[in-house]
Amino acid sequence: MTSLLVDVRVAVPGFAVDAKFAADLGVTVLAGPSGSGKSLTLAAVSGTLRPLRGTIQLDDVVYCDTARGVHLRSQDRLLGMAYQHAALLDHRSPLDNVALAVRSGDTATRRTVAMETLQRVGAESLAEARTRSLSGGERQRVALARAIAGGPRVLLLDEPFSSLDLAARAELRALVKSLVAERQLIALVVTHDQADVDALADRVVRYEPGRTVSAGE
């Protein structure tokens, strides 16, 4: 059984969070109020932030083990991510954005894979659109395509639907759910929206300020 084990203390100046949970295939939602350390946990998993102590491990691949001084680079963790902010490169077309995330093959192959991925998320008509002028929902679809185009094993989504209207949220939740099942992904979804939890979660990790966070079903 594929599983991501997280047992870390993550800190930034003035704030620290202890998180301990296991995420299996399917969607694990990290839920809780803003400022409770959900995004910090994602940053530790993605490798952009070094935890103060602890381990992060995907099956037998150690992403991070502070005791042994192991810290795998973000590039080597086989992740896909779509964040609320900083999702797409506006100076590149949506197709380019997705193609950049394809990890192997020559340019033509990458573009083919990117196009297929855009089709999968229902965004093939946007391939050569001006990225800057996409709507929030369109951007999020392209961002999802980019997140899965590299064939990740772990998908990280940080408040992925917060800027969307209700109809777009419902559509994208369904899309995320089906992509995770189809591609056999471990998805960590950060949200403070209970509707996301209800619609997506196979497991929920509840965050509360100042408390050790651990998994519950």
Partner: protein, 219 residues
């Protein structure tokens, strides 16, 4: 003005110097922006010196560093067969060093302003560091870098003090337009001084309008 040599020399020297300062300056700015060390601010202070030093003093340093009796100057001479100082190459070096801090300061600020989360998401999707720089950081910093390069060009074109120290004032060989204006004033040749000054002034205005436009379009 019946002799246009100084204008062509100035344009040639400042174009080459701008290319050199652009490549070197962006590379230094990138390292300074990414290097988390207190030494970074010391290095930045040193590379900024040409802005605040009197140009003649900067020229004197360069002359000392690159002159025929210095080891750098002697290596240059053994490599290219002629000295670096009092040549057009010397003028290029002086203009490059004068332009460099303008490129570095603007590029460093622009690179530091690029949203770190965009760079991080590029790393997470597997891009190697040099590709993050090429695909994400530098394109997003392009406006600031362009403005710095334009200012650097204007500075290179207008340099007097450092150029006259390092390249000298040899009419028809190393005499750039600002130096020619000075010469004309000394010789009481008002017409030449006026024409040269107008040309330099006009180019400076065009460059400044360009820089302002670049920043205005930034929203």
């Amino acid at each position: 003005m019946n002799d246009w040599f100084p204008l062509w020399l100035s344009l040639r020297v400042s174009v080459i110097a701008t290319i050199a300062a652009g490549v070197l300056g962006v590379a230094i700015a990138y390292v300074l922006a990414k290097w988390r060390s207190r030494w970074a601010s010391l290095v930045e202070a040193v590379v900024t010196l040409p802005i605040v030093l009197p140009p003649t003093v900067l020229g004197y340093y360069l002359l000392t560093l690159l002159g025929t009796r210095s080891s750098l100057g002697q290596s240059w001479e053994s490599l290219f067969g002629s000295p670096l100082v009092f040549t057009q190459s010397g003028a290029v070096v002086a203009a490059t060093v004068s332009a460099l801090p303008f490129v570095i300061r603007a590029a460093r600020a622009a690179i530091s302003n690029v949203d770190a989360r965009v760079e991080e998401s590029a790393r997470v999707m597997g891009l190697a560091e040099w590709r993050v720089a090429r695909v994400v950081t530098l394109p997003l910093a392009a406006r600031g870098i362009g403005a710095g390069i334009a200012l650097g060009f204007a500075r290179a074109l207008g340099d007097f003090g450092a150029t006259v120290m390092v390249a000298g004032n040899i009419p028809g060989q190393t005499q750039t337009l600002p130096v020619a204006v000075y010469d004309a004033v000394q010789a009481g040749d008002d017409a030449t001084a006026r024409t040269g000054s107008l040309v330099l002034g006009a180019i400076a205005v065009v460059v400044l309008v360009f820089v302002t436009q670049v920043f205005a379009r930034r929203r």
